[in-house]
Assembly symmetry: C2
Homo-oligomer: 172 residues x 2
């Protein structure tokens, strides 16, 4: 059985919003992603090893926030996966037939579909950033960027138990 | 001069929301963070090397989304930095006197104050996850969790130019 949020009839009284979930903040679009991937089926399962390049266009209003970003070799990109399904709580993955909770997967379908990618910054041209390794679809709203630090953000020996038991070939 | 978003009088006509920014989505709170850090000044600059432990409490409604998360040794935590200032576009850091755009820093003050941390998952007890290495303040709304993959998320040789020119001691 695959659960989704709609099944839960009894909710806390302070749940708000049209879809009866607790809204704690709004996402402001800071720019837009120009990507070679027009549809979900074209996008790689993970951007990291894709050699394709994308462009992050930051809106004029946020230009001052880019000061010195060209000094970062790699950046963390947060973007809105605006074609994802926010109601899904459990899912299958391309790696096998088992069902997992979405928080144990990298599926875009999740309560807050915020995509996370570490990308290589190839070139800054004003408020346009050319990057490599992003799995976002064309037109995805850009939410945040942060400098990636090998010291702070890199973990060498992480294990995802359910994933290690499979070979790395996604099922067709 | 430190820019902030309020200075920009001319805006696109499609900017929406009370504060005149383009709202593209809502953040749904999926849980709450119980942390030893009650105030900003108690929190480490980066959680990674803090040995302190925190607890992620996931709301009951999202419990099914945790299936198999205990198999992940490290998880990516996204949370709302609800005490941050969303108007700040440029800032100083603890590492020196220069001004940087917020997208070139890890400051919590930024247009979408979504905190990002890679934490070690120590123990799952139902919908309570004991973790190490989180810099979030007590009571921060939990937004998302994803399994961390060394293969996909770890970069060894990332450079942050402005940071490398400093020693690693934050200024007092």
């Amino acid at each position: 059985m695959v659960y989704n949020a709609k099944m839960f009839a009894v909710r806390r009284t302070y749940w708000l919003g049209n879809d009866m979930t607790l809204v704690v903040g709004q996402l402001h679009q800071i720019g837009v992603i120009h990507s070679p991937y027009k549809e979900q089926k074209e996008a790689p399962f993970q951007g990291r090893y894709a050699r394709d390049e994308s462009t992050l266009e930051v809106f004029e209003e946020y230009d001052p926030a880019l000061l010195h970003i060209e000094q970062c070799s790699h950046i963390i990109v947060l973007y809105l996966q605006d074609r994802a399904d926010r109601e899904v709580l459990q899912t299958r993955t391309p790696w096998g037939p088992e069902i997992h909770g979405v928080f144990a997967t990298r599926s875009p379908n999740r309560p807050n579909p915020i995509g996370f990618c570490v990308v290589e910054l190839l070139k800054r041209d004003g408020r346009f950033l050319r990057v490599r390794g992003l799995d976002a679809l064309e037109g995805s709203p850009l939410i945040d960027m942060k400098p990636y630090s090998s010291e702070v953000d890199s973990v060498q020996d992480a294990v995802i138990g359910w994933h290690k038991r499979r070979d790395l070939k996604p099922r067709k």
